[in-house]
């Protein structure tokens, strides 16, 4: 299966075409094709995962002794060997010529390793559940078939990105998921805000893509190839100059910032909530937005060397991630729209992943990607379930929700599990992954980012408590008749809840389980990273901070303690609240100042220059030529015209005759002038050059 993993993206791609062609004529209007294809992809992904694990275990088993010996040898200089060399399990690759240029052939193909297999599993699983969920959630939608076609296309593109063995193919998948995101955000494009959000999402990520493109280009010239494996190997071996790696990683980081909603390009992600909720769960929580993190993980050697992560205490990547954790979490407090709370939470959690990569916590960051996909998809689908059956298609927690736990028990309990996982409470999935990021940050002496992470953990727990309170506790404030959602919706919730409980255990460091690391961490062309030992004190601190967050928020919302109404009394608090409500004024800056001036003044000035200056000059020349022509006709042509000109005039005269048929004949005169000048100039040049 590993060699045939190309089938996994191919199936949804075929179902995309099939749904487009015949979807509307089928009994379930195309949904059956999508569900079937993605389901089959999921099965294949499971097979691939199993085979990969088998492969790794096999290799590990054979070299158990060496491995034990190698453990603890942390030689950064590749040559030492350490554990990596002994249990090296190379990715399974396969490809064929895709394009050629300058007699060099470039491949399209697959490279399957632990990271890829993990992503294949996550993407196909969440996508499959979303496909099932949508059969009920999107029922009766005006563009149901269309929706399923795009879900399939999205899944195919995301899988294409994941299996890519070269940066160009990765870019193709990257842009295609962006396209699907654009169309799905704008799914209900009749309303302008939805269309605006779609365009904003595409354009904002495209700004980051400038960086991605240039990064890919720099890496191509630095390494002489688009092949990811080869680039990584050269970066690890130190065959690429440091400056080039710095430039490349900085540029690529731009792509990550755009795609993974990092500060300062995160502003599109909350707006993207205009799309249908299953789309938010799949694209804007579990899969597409982590493409940036995946890029960081995939090309990690480039970032590792480029940002000098080894031995540093601060770098741009960690800084961007850390900033994003805090600014995202802060905004989650002031949202009344449940999906926006989750969107800002996603931004914040993506910040953890990027920061994790930045502090050298590769395994932890990827592990967090893995667990986050489940519990965040769960939370989004839960919010969708609430709006579907509880709040009459509203997402406003304050106006239309409250007290729903009585009416929607399954949704409530699964949402609770998701929230606890997100808040990082033991033993739920989020605890293990988040703790590992913090532990690694501490161990690698990125103390500042450890603190940032702890503050973020506190905030996360607090805003999720608020969210749960407003949605499920208190009195019902809506106007519908809330009831539990149908099975097509609750079953995916239960499945995801199961993963949210259990997924953390594959790398539960406290229990000395490190399966995730063993299976997923690359062993070839990868820097030697340190892995933290489990520390009870650190884990207890993280847990305590999260519990404190819940406690404080609980006191404020459930027990009505604390400074309620402070924003009305205290101008400073009010100013802070307004600042948050306006999202740090970033949207105003981008939309009004930057886009506004480019679309408005700058574009108009360019066009004015075009019409008045450049075209004005052209018209001026034409008018001048016409006057010269009139002079030539009146004075010269009537009298003596020399032979050479005459000869040419005959031929131009014929052309002119044709033209006079339509036009006054001024063209003829221009033409005559032009050819006369050509004749004269050529004569001059001939004489001049002899």
């Amino acid at each position: 299966m590993l060699r045939n993993a190309w089938l996994i993206p191919l199936l949804p791609a075929l179902s995309f075409v099939a749904i487009l062609l015949v979807g509307k004529r089928l009994p379930r209007r195309g949904a059956e094709l999508g569900v079937g294809a993605v389901g089959a992809s999921f099965v294949l992904a499971c097979v691939a995962a199993w085979q990969w694990i088998d492969r790794v275990e096999g290799a590990t088993g054979k070299s158990e002794g060496l491995r034990a010996f190698g453990k603890g040898v942390l030689g950064g200089e590749g040559g030492e060997g350490g554990e990596h060399a002994e249990v090296a399990v190379a990715p399974v690759t396969r490809g064929f010529t895709w394009w050629q240029n300058g007699n060099v052939e470039f491949n399209v193909g697959i490279a399957i390793d632990g990271l890829t297999v993990m992503m294949l599993f996550v993407v196909t699983l969440v996508s499959f559940l979303v496909h099932v969920y949508s059969t009920s959630y999107m029922e009766g939608d005006r563009r149901f078939t269309h929706f399923y076609a795009l879900l399939s296309l999205f899944t195919a593109s995301m899988l294409l990105l994941v299996v890519a063995d070269n940066t160009i193919q990765l870019l193709v998948g990257w842009e295609l998921v962006g396209l699907c995101s654009f169309v799905l955000i704008g799914h209900w494009w009749e309303e302008k805000p939805n269309a605006d959000a779609a365009v904003k999402a595409f354009l904002t990520t495209r700004v980051g893509d400038v960086g991605l493109m240039i990064g890919i280009i720099v890496l191509f010239f630095a390494a002489g190839t688009f092949d990811i494996q080869a680039i990584n190997a050269q970066a690890v071996e130190g065959e690429i100059g440091h400056t080039l790696l710095v430039v490349a990683s900085a540029c690529l980081l731009g792509g990550i910032i755009g795609k993974s909603g990092q500060f300062p390009l995160h502003t599109w992600l909350p707006d993207a909530m205009a799309g249908p909720t299953p789309v938010s769960a799949l694209i804007h929580a579990a899969t597409m937005v982590v493409a940036g993190v995946y890029l960081g993980a995939r090309l990690y050697p480039v970032f590792f060397e480029g940002f000098s992560i080894d031995g540093g205490t601060i770098n741009v990547m960690a800084l961007i991630g850390g900033t994003t954790i805090i600014i995202g979490a802060a905004l989650a407090f002031v949202q009344n729209d449940i999906k926006k709370v989750l969107a800002y939470s996603t931004i914040s959690q993506l910040g953890y992943m990027v920061m994790g990569l930045g502090v050298g916590a590769w395994v932890a960051a990827v592990f967090h990607l893995f667990t986050h996909a489940f519990f965040k998809a769960l939370l989004f689908l839960g919010a969708g379930s609430v709006s579907h059956s509880g709040s009459h298609h509203s997402f406003d927690m304050k106006a239309d929700m409250g007290g729903l736990r009585k009416f929607m028990p399954v949704t409530f309990w699964t949402f609770m599990i998701g929230s606890l996982a997100l808040a990082g409470i033991i033993p739920f999935a989020g605890f293990w992954s988040k703790d590992e990021i913090l532990a690694t940050a501490g161990q690698n002496e990125f103390t500042f980012f450890l603190v940032v992470g702890l503050v973020g953990a506190f905030m996360t727990a607090a805003y999720m408590t608020r969210c749960v309170y407003l949605t499920f506790f208190g009195e019902y404030r809506g106007h519908g008749e809330p009831h539990e959602s149908p099975r097509a919706i609750t079953v995916p919730l239960i499945v995801l809840a199961g993963f949210s409980v259990l997924a953390g255990l594959v790398n539960a460091s406290a229990l000395e389980i490190e399966k995730f690391k063993e299976w997923v961490e690359p062993t070839v062309a990868f820097p030697a990273l340190e892995h933290p030992e489990f520390e009870l004190a650190g884990a207890a601190l993280a847990l305590a901070v999260a519990l404190l967050g819940i406690l404080v928020s609980y006191a404020y919302w459930f027990r009505n303690l604390g400074p309620h109404g402070i924003t009305a009394r205290n101008p400073l608090a009010r100013a802070g609240y307004t600042f948050l409500e306006n999202k740090y004024y970033l949207d105003a800056l981008y939309e009004n100042v930057i886009v506004g001036s480019i679309k408005g003044a700058i574009a108009r000035a360019s066009y004015w220059t075009n019409q008045r200056v450049i075209d004005g000059a052209v018209n001026g020349v034409a008018t001048g030529a016409a006057q010269v022509g009139r002079f030539a006709y009146d004075v010269l042509d009537q009298k003596a015209v020399d032979g050479a000109v005459n000869g040419l005039a005959v031929s131009t005269g014929q052309t002119g005759g044709l033209l006079r048929y339509v036009q006054s004949g001024r063209v003829q005169r221009y033409a005559l002038m032009l050819f006369a000048s050509v004749a004269l100039l050529s004569l001059a040049l001939f004489v001049f050059s002899n």
Binding site: G102, E190, V199, I598, N610, S677, V678
Partner: protein, 512 residues
């Protein structure tokens, strides 16, 4: 099939349309059906000849001229009837054929006012001969004649079948390009007189690669060629004829203009200017690159200021041809391959966009962006095709446009040795920023035309969706956009050998 390979096949591909034109002219004006059928059959027969060329082309040897004919023609000036195609000319030749067929089908039952299918189709056929001939010509005089041959029919097409301001636009188009052509001819003559032995033969001149010409003379001659080709491309600041011509031209005229005529300019650079005068090309390359990048940014900014859909697409051509010229300016095989790919992709995509603008105008009688909206509600298929083409045009990977744009940006990172690297890398960054602007103007255009609800004035209007002639005309173009995007080697494999030949020639001449 010896006769086919020994020049007759290519000759047929060039002159069949003009033969068809003679037949069309012989049919009385009233028999419109007969005229249309003859025109269609002619373009189809031409395409069949093109397919024959495609099938019999030797893909292992794309750098060499194939289907060559070299007969004496005007002995007095040693100009010969020398035609032949290599891997660069072949795709462009086929592009011209496919687009012409699409145009004839598209205009089947809606000829713009003042109607007159006979005149319109006769001009279309004449145009095709000019275009095909330019791509096949291997003699400067022959090239010049074909190059100029396209001027007249396009002039009449705009001047007779055009919009309200057609007189101004057509004269401007004619004079502007004629001005360039005059200087180009001057350069051709200079090349002829200054090389020993005197020749107009392009392969011979390329072989000599400017040997025996003083640097300053080379530069002067190159300037003439540059002006001739740059106006046709059009490059900033010689582009102002283009928006006017496009805005006023009938739909089919716009399509042919964008899809094929602009390529005559870029093709001229690759076929003549670079190989014949490599040293001058090296001197001029940074300036060409600069103008190309200005064109990318400036064209995009002007797009953002447009209120007319067609004029917006016209300006987008300035930006897109900037990528093509940037690729050429690097003088590397990578860049020139990207440029040739970009030419074909732009031909297909922008050709489609002009078709769509025409269809929108035909249905709403306006192209004002502020009056349009909700196309997806009233004509969903038309709307989605517009979305597809907008995506293709903004260089979405997986569609054809990407493979012209991305490698061109990439090639600017490392231009030919001897060219200023830092300058070109700056160009690269600006070109990459241009892709964001391109996404901006295309998505906003798409949003305003297709999203939302129809404006009140068109709410009750009957807007029919894509109909049969449109489907038939568009399907091949749409399929090609996808096919080339998914498997770009379809095209790169053809162009690469020929482009490498050109690039090696340039590199050798500069190095030696």
């Amino acid at each position: 099939m010896d006769w086919f390979d020994s020049g007759w096949g290519l000759t047929l591909a060039i002159f069949l349309p003009v033969a068809g034109m003679v037949v069309v002219l012989a049919i009385p004006k009233a028999q419109e059906q007969a005229i249309k059928i003859v025109a269609l059959l002619t373009t189809l027969a031409t395409l069949a000849a093109g397919v024959g060329l495609l099938v019999r082309f030797d893909y292992d040897d794309t750098g060499d001229l194939q289907f060559e004919a070299n007969k004496s023609w005007i002995d007095v000036i040693q100009s010969r009837y020398h035609i032949g195609i290599d891997g660069i000319a072949l795709p462009l030749l086929l592009l011209s054929m496919v687009v012409t067929v699409a145009c004839v089908i598209y205009s089947w039952d809606h000829f713009p006012a003042p109607h007159n299918p006979k005149g319109f189709l006769a001009l279309t056929l004449l145009l095709e001969t000019g275009m095909n001939g330019t791509f096949a010509a291997q003699d400067l005089i022959l090239f010049f004649i074909f190059f100029e041959l396209v001027l007249l029919p396009m002039f009449f097409m705009i001047g007779v079948w055009g919009g309200p301001n057609r007189v101004y636009a057509s004269i401007k188009f004619f004079l502007f390009t004629l001005f360039g052509s005059a200087l180009m001819l001057l350069s051709f003559l200079a090349l002829f007189f200054l090389t020993e032995p005197h020749t107009f033969d392009i392969p011979t001149l390329a072989e000599a690669a400017g040997e025996g010409l003083v640097g300053s003379t080379q530069n002067l001659i190159f300037l003439g060629l540059f002006l001739g080709f740059a106006i046709k491309v059009p490059m900033f600041p010689f582009h102002t004829w283009l928006p006017d011509a496009h805005t006023e031209a009938p739909t089919v005229g716009s399509v042919i203009l964008a899809a094929v005529l602009l390529k005559l300019g870029t093709y001229g650079f690759v076929r003549i200017a670079l190989p014949v005068l490599p040293q001058a090309a090296e001197d001029w390359a940074p300036w060409i690159g600069l103008l190309a990048v200005i064109g990318i940014i400036y064209g995009a900014l002007c797009c953002l200021a447009q209120r007319d859909m067609k004029r917006l697409i016209a300006f987008s051509s300035v930006a897109h041809m900037g990528f093509v010229m940037l690729g050429i300016a690097t003088l590397t095989d990578f860049g020139i391959n990207a440029a040739v790919f970009g030419m074909v992709a732009h031909g297909l995509i922008t050709g489609m966009l002009f078709f769509l603008a025409g269809s929108v105008q035909e249905r709403y009688n306006t192209r004002e962006l502020s009056r349009l909206g909700g196309l997806l509600v009233q004509a969903p298929r038309l709307g989605w095709i517009l979305g597809f083409c907008a995506m293709a045009s903004l260089g979405l990977p997986g569609l054809a446009g990407f493979w012209g744009e991305f490698p061109a940006i990439l090639s600017a990172y490392e231009p030919l040795e001897g060219l200023p690297v830092e300058t070109f890398r700056t160009f690269m960054v600006f070109a990459a920023i241009g892709t964001v602007l391109a996404a901006g103007y295309l998505l906003w255009m798409f949003q305003r035309v297709a999203f939302g609800e129809p404006k009140p004035e068109f709410e009750s209007a009957h807007i029919h969706d894509v109909h049969a002639p449109e489907w038939i005309a568009w399907t091949p173009l749409l399929l090609l956009i996808v096919a080339l995007g998914v498997y770009p080697n379809l095209l790169f494999k053809i162009t690469d050998g020929a482009v490498t030949g050109v690039a090696d020639g340039v590199a050798k001449a500069i190095g030696g």
